[in-house]
Symmetry: C2
Subunit: 277 residues, 2 copies
């Protein structure tokens, strides 16, 4: 396997992970993926705030922003000197090593791993005409204690992502057991009805991403009013327009879900423009 | 941290795990913990059958029994030569390394890690008089696609286990969102009503352990009839006797749950004896 990336483990280059690390043993940790531009993280304050909040939800003390910035400098700056150079940083924070058993040790030393990968080459088509989505059979279970956070227990997303191989499908919509739309496997969802922009309530399951949060903050500049609510696929299909979003590509218009197709719309393009200002 | 163990990674001593391993990235794998006696795994056919079944549920090809037996021999036989020497083997199987993203690579090379730890020194009291249990506030979410398997997504068990520090509490009872008793954080549960032995239905959540399976097979030798059903804590508290079980200690009588205490009973002792024959 050839790779364009390297990584840092607690600030050291290419140190592997202990099998006693609780991230490996139990998925006992959280992660984030974000864009690095010229060696610097985009929207860092929001991403760091989310890292701290997600760590806090499961009782991990998040490493300081200074440590992570120092990791970014070691890993990305040599590339970042190239003008407009883009790359992806993935940050993984775990509770650190432990003995056998679910009880965390009395004293834990969180592990931080920062991984550098190349910016994905997304099809231009996705930005221009939008994307087609699968509707996943795998459901997201209700777990209010973990809802919203981007933790390392991602088997539901994996099983959902394994449901299709068609490269013309950009992502899959995940529902909960009550048939409510929650998110895509790697994105949040918005649906526009007139001047109201709906996005699913994530208090029972799903990941509340930073780009979702940013879109909620800038919606007024698009003359849209945000409404966080519960809705099913039928309601989503009756939207005037809809889009998916994440930190890597910003926003993509939804062009098709099963038999429902939408005419070209400007929601995602306008959102991407607003996210850049 | 001093440890009495070493480990093998794909048959090599003390090789750490890549941060690109999907077990670390997403909890994309399964595990088992079992007793090694004189360097040989106890109840190996059932444990291996369960490894294969659990791997199959999430689409991982389980390494052969021969490979795992070869790992056991490398790791445990030098100790196993001591008469009656007991140790614990933990086997972790992951989907192996992948690129960023939930989609597994087209070709995967599963990772197997075998870890040796010392046999825990359980209080003799637990075997003689039984154990006290906490009732966990953290619920198990319904996820029929993952129910029953011992996968690496264990944040619910961790949050539940973090609810108590009292060393006189041996484990915590986990309920589902409908208030049904499912299991303990590290054990399955049985409750006796007359000559019927109830154990929770695990088709929505929980881990269907090998010792639970063995108890279900030998119940007739204790003149008990097994009934797999759905019941709540109130029902459990009205049982004539109750016990918890796992592969390490066999079975422990439940002495107390909150205000409910039971007189000494013979269910767990009889079960342990029957499991040994």
């Amino acid at each position: 396997m050839t790779r364009m990336h390297t990584y840092l483990t607690n600030g050291s280059f290419d140190h592997a992970v202990s099998p006693f690390d609780r991230g490996f043993a139990y998925g006992d940790g959280i992660f984030r993926t974000l864009v690095m531009r010229d060696g610097m993280p985009e929207n860092w304050p929001l991403h760091y705030q989310k890292l701290v909040a997600d760590c806090g939800t499961i009782g991990i003390v998040c490493p300081s922003a200074e440590l992570l910035m120092s990791d970014f400098q070691q890993l990305f700056l040599p590339d970042g000197l190239t003008e407009n150079h883009l790359a992806i940083a993935k940050i993984i924070i775990t509770r650190g090593e432990g003995e056998r058993g679910y009880a965390p040790p009395a004293v834990t030393m969180p592990l931080r791993v920062v991984i550098k990968t190349a910016m994905p080459q997304y099809p231009e088509e996705n930005f221009v005409n939008g994307v087609n989505l699968h509707v996943c059979e795998t459901r997201l279970a209700h777990q209010p204690k973990l809802a919203g956070i981007k933790h390392l227990n991602r088997l539901e997303n994996i099983l959902a992502r394994m449901e299709w191989n068609d490269p013309t499908i950009a992502d899959g919509i995940m529902l909960d057991a009550d048939n409510n739309v929650i998110e895509c496997t790697s994105a949040n969802i918005f649906a526009r009805f007139g001047d109201v922009l709906l996005t699913p309530d994530l208090r029972q399951c799903g990941v509340a991403g930073v780009t979702r949060q940013r879109i909620m903050s800038i919606a007024h500049s698009l003359s849209l009013e945000i409404s966080v609510e519960t809705f099913n696929v039928e309601k989503l299909m009756s939207a005037d327009e809809a889009m998916i979003c994440n930190s890597l590509y910003g926003a993509w218009q939804i062009r098709g879900i099963q038999h429902r197709t939408w005419q070209a719309g400007a929601l995602a393009a306008n959102t991407r423009a607003a996210l850049k200002t």
